[in-house]
Symmetry: none
Subunit: 266 residues, 2 copies
């Protein structure tokens, strides 16, 4: 069973939620299964206010934190998981069934890492921009003819799976089917990963260097930003490795700044 400390390391992040009933339902399921931390990103303000001030709003909803950007909402989390109906073909990240994802999430919570679970808006789910913050994606096994779930129900099912498979495993504890450790694995499992916030610092330095044109850095376009974020996300960096990369890249940036500026190229 997940301990209170482990439950405490998971954040449910609702992005662009529009319906106060769904926000309320998500909070209720969190309370049912013992997960205290709800974060909402750029919610429809009236919906969030309404959900929060409902007479039956529980402690989860009252303690919910509000953010303007996904990046801020996941900054202290080292594993960021997105949810999707899975109908999209343009996904860059591995798409796992919920059951497998739950194993990964529990392993991270156990190792002391914070985990963010992202749920998109009722209408369109998570955007490509939102997904660019996710290291892996999960899919609830719905029918292909009708994959799109109600938000509150999707949250409930994911949290149930996190809590319950655990119970099943406990029951079957005599025959533990421990995931075979992968030989090609670079990271020892014990090492926690860097947080999303730490990764963003690395991304910022890379983008500044890549957009350096001799004068100052121009705004990088969104495509490049998504690309760099995806590449950095793939790296599975530990905090200490991340610091070393940051040091190296800053050296490169200083070199670029130190050289005389050529005339602008356009």
């Amino acid at each position: 069973v997940l301990t209170p400390a482990e439950l405490d390391r998971l954040c449910v992040v609702l992005v662009n939620s529009r319906n106060p009933l769904n926000i309320g339902a998500a909070a209720r399921a969190m309370s049912n299964f013992g997960f205290p931390h709800l974060r909402v990103v750029h919610p429809y303000a009236v919906a969030f206010h309404e959900a929060r001030s409902a007479v039956n709003a529980g402690p989860v909803l009252i303690a919910a934190e509000q953010f303007e950007q996904v990046a801020e909402a996941v900054a202290d989390c080292s594993l960021v998981v997105g949810t999707t109906g899975g109908a999209r073909r343009d996904l860059h990240e591995p798409l796992y069934p919920l059951e497998a994802t739950a194993e990964i999430v529990r392993a991270h919570l156990r190792s002391g890492s914070r985990v963010a679970l992202l749920f998109g808006s009722e209408k369109v789910g998570l955007s490509n921009q939102d997904l660019s913050h996710c290291q892996l994606l999960l899919r609830i096994p719905t029918r292909t003819e009708h994959p799109s779930m109600n938000l509150g129900q999707a949250v409930a099912i994911v949290l149930y799976e996190l809590v319950s498979n655990e119970l099943v495993r406990q029951t079957e504890a005599e025959a533990p089917r421990a995931p075979a450790p992968d030989p090609s694995l670079a990271q020892p499992l014990a090492q926690p990963l860097a947080t999303a916030g730490e990764r963003e610092r690395l991304i910022a330095v890379l983008l500044e260097a890549l957009s350096f044109n001799g004068y100052a850095h121009r705004a990088t376009d969104a495509l490049m930003e998504d690309k760099v974020r995806r590449l950095v996300r793939h790296l599975a960096l530990t905090p200490s490795d991340l610091r070393e990369w940051l040091g190296l890249l800053r050296q490169l940036l200083w070199k670029l700044r130190a050289t005389k500026s050529p005339p602008p190229q356009d």
Copy 2:
């Protein structure tokens, strides 16, 4: 996986539901997981009418059957299962966790029996009278401090468990431990990692950029080379990601070369 014929033998029975949104949410989850038969017993008439005539009412809701008594609604079913928060002490029937109940329900559906799954009203759940029709009771593993679930979420979780554990079992039966996703790794294991030779190309570009001093590249010292090699090794890069990094780092190197050379610093 449950076959269409097996899915067809399960009836979700909502007893005394009061909220049209909950009836609609239950029907939506049924559609998500492929269960076509919804029955409602003595619903609040306005609620049922409202749910059914909603513009987005799907086929499940439109085909829903209405009954006045539980006895009529379950008359053609050989297994009748009730759901409960489990806080009650006056239960006469065995109370199983959801996971175990799902196994029993699937076995009945396979054997050709019809199964009814009863869900009570939002306020009080199933009455003693309702429970008297049930052969076994299931409990969703919610916290004892907050056991009572939203009706639509409870239906979604029970149907998910019926469908999904099945998938897990199938996967395990076919390929013992399909790509055991690794906790610390964002990459699916199916993807091979880049070779050491490919990594060396990346290392070479990095070292050249780091040792660039305005003229040409001087020999980097061995310590730096070891450090960069170690950092790159940790990255667990796939071949395609490696190529992308190589492209980005070459851009940086070109920028360095394109700038005017400052005087040598020593």
